[in-house]
């Protein structure tokens, strides 16, 4: 009797493990290396953060972006962006193209943007081609201000439209594209 009793229990136990055995193999397969790897640090991708070029970064070459750029470092080359902010101690040697360019640092070259803001700490050596400009007291400018943004470009549509802002709006992007 005891033998039968004992046999019954292992039989029950044996009946369950097979079910577990089917489930279990999947767990060990998932586990080994996947958890051993740290989560990728770049997961900190912000939602609406601009690209940041910090003061410790120096770039020699061309930058192109379809979004905003914040520059605090040093760039030797052209910059193309939508909103370009050039910080206090930043230096850019080259042309800055954009929809909106805000300068608090130094540019040795040219700005071509629909809207240009020169802060009090700005130091601009070169021409500014703009449609709309704001210059704060203290800004240094050595160059010409040309309210010709969108007019001189190869864009025919922008040439025909002299006053309205709305119809010129699509023009900047195309004119930027054209200069690529």
């Amino acid at each position: 009797m005891t033998i039968f009793n004992r046999n019954d229990k292992p039989a029950d136990a044996a009946a369950k493990p097979p079910a577990n055995d089917i489930v279990q193999p999947q767990k060990p397969v998932e586990r080994p290396q996947a958890t051993a790897q740290p989560l990728s640090p770049p997961a900190k991708t912000g939602a609406s953060m601009p690209s940041v070029i910090s003061k410790a970064l120096k770039i020699t070459g061309q930058l192109e972006s379809t979004e905003d750029i914040q520059i605090d470092g040093e760039i030797d080359g052209d910059v193309r962006g939508v909103g370009v902010k050039i910080g206090n101690n930043a230096k850019v040697k080259g042309t800055v193209y954009g929809d909106e360019v805000e300068l608090a640092g130094t540019i040795d070259g040219k700005i071509e943007a629909k809207k240009v803001i020169l802060n009090g700490t700005a130091r601009m050596s070169g021409d500014v081609v703009h449609q709309d400009i704001k210059i704060e007291s203290g800004a240094f400018i050595d160059g010409h201000l040309k309210p010709e943004f969108g007019k001189t470009g190869s864009k025919p549509a922008s040439v025909s439209t002299l006053k309205p802002v709305t119809s010129v709006a699509p023009a900047p992007e195309k004119s930027i594209e054209a200069r690529h």
Binding site: Q37, P42, V52, S54, A56, L57, T60, L63
Partner: protein, 136 residues
């Protein structure tokens, strides 16, 4: 001019390197040229050219074509070129086509790697002040 030549200085004063704010190049940004960073640099966009950084992270979706010199490199995106770094981490989302000169490396399961991973002693990286010519 390169990060690695600076390495011996920054190692004695690591706080200096950490203080400097990191740079983040988002996926809409593409750069063609030379990048020299004395800070942490995260690339989510496209870079074609040479990169020198203290720490370089190629985020998933990032695309780099060129040579990299850094103290620490984390690759989660696409890389085609050479890496010279004592510490390298290749993540599972990485696609690497090239060679990684390293002292310590970890490669995640799932990473796509096509190339070689030559080991070098630490002294090799300390004396590295410009990109060496290697056989293709």
């Amino acid at each position: 001019m390169f990060a690695l030549s600076r390495r011996s200085d920054t190692r004695t004063a690591p706080a200096r390197g950490i203080e400097l704010p990191p740079s983040y190049l988002r996926n809409s940004l593409s750069i063609r040229g030379v990048l020299e960073a004395e800070c942490e640099l995260t690339i989510g966009g496209k870079v074609v050219g040479r990169i020198a950084a203290l720490k370089l992270i190629i985020a998933p979706g990032g695309h780099v074509e060129g040579d990299i010199i850094a103290r620490d490199v984390v690759i989660g995106g696409y890389l085609r070129g050479r890496v010279f770094a004592p510490t390298v981490t290749v993540e599972e989302t990485a696609h690497v086509d090239g060679r990684i000169f390293h002292h310590t490396i970890s490669v995640a399961r799932g990473a796509h790697f096509d190339g070689r991973m030559p080991w070098r002693p630490v002294s090799y990286f300390e004396t590295l002040d410009q990109l060496p010519e290697t056989q293709p």
